[in-house]
Symmetry: C2
Subunit: 207 residues, 2 copies
Amino acid sequence: MTKPRLPKKFPNKETAGALLLANMRRNIKISTKDEKLILAASILLSVPKKEFFHHEGQVNEYSAFVLSGCMRSYFTDTNGFEHTVQFAVEDWWITDMMSYIKQEPGKLNIDALEPTTLLLISRRDQLQLYDQCPTVEKYFRILLEKSLASQQLRIIENLSLPATERYLNFIQRYPQLTNRISQIQIASYLGITPEFLSKIRRQLAGK
Amino acid sequence: MTKPRLPKKFPNKETAGALLLANMRRNIKISTKDEKLILAASILLSVPKKEFFHHEGQVNEYSAFVLSGCMRSYFTDTNGFEHTVQFAVEDWWITDMMSYIKQEPGKLNIDALEPTTLLLISRRDQLQLYDQCPTVEKYFRILLEKSLASQQLRIIENLSLPATERYLNFIQRYPQLTNRISQIQIASYLGITPEFLSKIRRQLAGK
DNA sequence: CGTCTATTTGAATGTACTCAAAAGCGGTGG
DNA sequence: CCACCGCTTTTGAGTACATTCAAATAGACG
């Protein structure tokens, strides 16, 4: 994890916190008491492009809410190839879930594809918040349900669709990501090589 | 959904409910007041082998906790091939998450691989329980976190490992399932054809 | 037993990968 | 402002992993 640096876009934590609270309010109702507790537990962090937020083999102590920029979590296999688990742009959470919930060394890396600002919450503070504010627990319960449903969809598509259709679904589902992320990254999310993605695109263009 | 039939093993709801409460107690502490509310919301259901609990295109109103037997959820692609999302034996929950949380028609089928007894909770009752008993919300939040983490692992392995290693991981991780489920089912979970799984097994046996 | 389904086997095929190299593109420094 | 460097994307030829199709064998169940 890099040294926190205050980015220009978010000169103070209040401005940053407002983004998180707005996201939470879209799912639940928060009392002013809860707001204060949430903000008190939040940590502002800036991650320069290509730098890491979490390294494999280490404990992912924090869950990260993206304020601006773009992060990705990925797994490096025994041959050195990277496989993307998740991208996260503004308004998304990202973490190495396995490491975060168990607070044990994880298998994933999380780095910044763009200069990124994050709002962090430690697992410790999160568990405390859950007990203090059932509403916060409700918020994450809702987020987890949605994540699980969309991951089920990803698994289904990985099992049942050829690469071309997985790519078409991706650009349709995440149009904002398509123009922001390199093809290498998209290929590693889809489970194909960059070379093959290039061939798929040529095929699709010729129609 | 089939007509409820009381199985021999669970002559009454109390016996069945005790199994669910035991599972919950392994994750949280429940008050006697909460216990009553949980049991009041639970519905006992028996599903004969090969019969369906949920059909694609319909709303998955209930989430199911397996008391005995084995269920699977799967997706049928445009060529008629089935792709298993999840198996659930004793002490596991199963549902078409996308349909269940939105209460909209789903894409999955859920059927019984063995004669199975379930304890159901409707989405409506579950949401009510969440508001009445924060502890119940905590229980499902914990379950969702674990599910998400293990699904992340499955995605990683599907992306990074060849079929032989995915199979070896499967039989190591779910030894109880391996002897209980046909190879057709295992193949459809791993994302390969039954024929190819048979060839993998021959390869592995010849060592 | 006989029937139905699951599993195995083999040959031909296809989808996606590997390796190698060229072309494009963006940033940086002289 | 141009030239160079590094990284991304494209392209092609050869290869490998997994599928398809067809058929034989083995198991399970009434």
